[in-house]
Amino acid sequence: MNKPLTLIAALALGSVALPGVATAQYAHAPFFDHPVELSQAYGLETIALKLDLASAFAAPYEDELIEGIEGMTGAPLARFAGTLAEKNADLADALSAALAEVAEAAEEGEDASEAIAEARELLDQAYAAVIPQALRNDPAFVGGIIITLLLAEEGVAEGYEEAVEGQEPWEYPNGWVALQRVNVLWDEVKGAATEQHLADAQEMLDLLATLYPQATPPESVAGLNPEEAESPSQRLGGIVETVVDADLYPGRDLPRLSGHIAELTEAACALYPDRDEVAAETIYAVHDLYAAHLADVAGLFAPELQEEADELFGAMIVAEDDDDDEAGEGADDQSAATAEADDDADAEQDQDDDAQVSAAQACTELSEAFTQLRTALGG
């Protein structure tokens, strides 16, 4: 983890010719203006969706659904837990406990209704504590949430594709529940839409509804087109960004984005080790932007950088798409390590200190890497 990053020569400007970028067309850019808050909101929304799924199905749950419900106590919670704890430690503890109770009930095959209701109430309070009301009412910010629910992992488009192409049927309910939420959020922002936009958006929502008629996965995916949800999701995203007057695709301007994530990372590093949970929230936001828009570019021009960045992110956060492998293995490793140190409090403290140093060091190295990327891309 401590070895210095070396950007290969391909990232020199000699081979990375920079494109021109379309003139800014929209007034707002929520992924540049409020990246951490959007990531926090995504965490809150994800947990809400998992609770909705827990309600939509009856216990005992399928194993895949249980995994999904349990997953809400990992990365989604970590996206905002530090800020929530600083604002209201009791609420943070209560929410964490309530979510754990839901997960436990799901695991045990018990009726989770009461636990879900309590968790929802606490989650609403957490949403209000973490995301300022002005942002929650900002159509551009809501547009950022909508586009994420449409296009991110476990979202409307990806949920369908994974269920059909990846033959992972329990990705389907993730897409279904995301679509239900998109409908609600679209209702919140559509006031500024023209008649044509309203009609077009409704057509896209109707198309998506035909792909997601119910929460339950289809009995067979044979003959279904895995990318069928992609086109209407993209089209709807385009309509939303016009209606909310916000650029919802931050990857359009890669130089600016590279500078943006370099600055965010540097700011996060200043928070380690004293406020590591809050620092990690920013790293989640950075990871979202990097993974969606820059990782493949780095992989083509400087695979060494991409590999190093993946490793460094892994020292700081557990991304949602890593849950199946790294999180599970990591959790097991951590349990084992804790057990071995059970009788030795000093050793455990040393281990925590090492972990903090490691995250802080990883952040510093990632910041250096992104500074180089920024320079190479002209950000």
Partner: protein, 346 residues
């Protein structure tokens, strides 16, 4: 022209079924040559064949018995206009005998006259100016590959950007350009040296690349970027970016036979953008009576008609290039993706 392989297992699959026609205003189109417009219907797994003079679908060519799983998408035409090539992607190659392939359709008979395997999800294709090579973007394996038309042999394969998509061969036959959606790049392949010489960043989610007639420029559409990147092919650098608007979502583009205009299919706005190549300015945006979400676009060799493949309305819009108006809409198959124009031998 010598064609690569015998049709093999799907050689007798031609259907003589005429599709339904949605006839709107349909002025007579007097033309010296007779053209046929081929439309790849991605989700229907078939090809609609339109007689350009009558505006009628005269045949539907079945590509696969597995619609949704096997999809015809990219198309290209031989330099003499007599052969249409179609790239077919199998999204479930593990289930049955893989159907990733490139196939050839004879314009005169509308029969499939050859095919060869092209594994890796070939999305789009281009024919070299001498007609001897086909280059394909292999989406699933982030590669660009060259195939010998006569034998079907793959003679080159190169790593390019992630989610390879558009492909074009320069008029001097020296360069193959291949776009990649996820890395926002165009990879430049030196065909003779058989190597990738450069990756260029272009607009966000590049789709299609086409060369100018003289080969000095290459134009790249960027769907999310809402732009056309203009590449100076000698400098191998982006020298200008034409902004169509972030909601335009441009996909395919067609260079007019006289080189003076570029026609761009704007999927987001259901429009065709007309660009003057001298000024690189948008001189017209055609929206009236356009079909929904045009992705594919092709122009007749005489430059008089433009055809768009409209994925959301499963139709083809016909544009008169003198008046720059839509003069007809023709119903085709499900998920119209690309269009190409063939020349019927006299």
């Amino acid at each position: 022209m010598r064609l690569f392989m015998r049709p093999g297992r799907i050689g007798a699959m031609l259907l003589g079924v005429a599709g339904s026609v949605l006839a709107l205003a349909m002025p007579a189109m007097a033309q010296e040559e007779t053209y046929r417009v081929y439309v790849a219907n991605e989700f229907g797994a078939d090809i609609s064949v339109i007689d350009s003079a009558s505006g009628e679908v005269i045949q539907t060519i079945k590509i696969s018995d597995r619609p949704g799983e096997v999809r015809p998408r990219g198309m290209a035409v031989s330099p003499d206009g007599k052969t249409i090539y179609v790239s077919v992607s199998d999204f479930y190659p593990q289930r049955e005998t893989p159907e990733d392939k490139i196939l050839a359709i004879d314009v005169d008979t509308n029969e499939m006259v050859g095919q060869f395997r092209a594994g890796g999800n070939p999305e789009r294709i281009a024919v070299s100016p001498d007609g001897t090579q086909i280059w394909a973007s292999l989406e699933a394996i982030a590669s660009g590959a060259g195939y010998d038309v006569a034998t079907g042999n793959q003679f080159a394969i190169h790593k390019v950007g992630v989610e390879a998509e558009g492909v074009a061969v320069s008029p001097d036959n020296k360069w193959a350009y291949i776009t990649a959606e996820a890395t926002h790049t165009v990879s430049i392949i030196d065909i003779a040296a058989n190597k990738v010489v450069k990756h260029l960043l272009v607009g966000n989610r590049p789709r299609v690349v086409e060369f100018s007639l003289d080969g000095t420029r290459a134009y790249v559409s960027a769907e999310i970027g809402g732009t056309i990147s203009v590449i100076d092919t000698e400098k191998q650098a982006v020298i200008q970016t034409i902004n169509l608007g972030l909601d335009s979502r441009p996909v395919e583009l067609a260079v007019a036979p006289d080189g003076k205009r570029i026609y761009v299919a704007g999927g987001g706005t259901s429009a065709v953008y007309v660009i003057d190549t001298e000024t690189n300015a948008v001189v017209e945006i055609i929206t009236e009576q356009m079909g929904r979400r045009p992705w594919g676009i092709a122009i007749t060799p005489d430059g008089k008609r433009v055809f768009t493949a409209n994925g959301l309305s499963d139709s083809v819009s016909v544009i008169d290039t003198d008046s720059l108006t839509v003069i007809n809409n023709i119903a085709v198959g499900r998920g119209a993706h690309s269009a190409e124009v063939g020349v019927v031998p006299q």
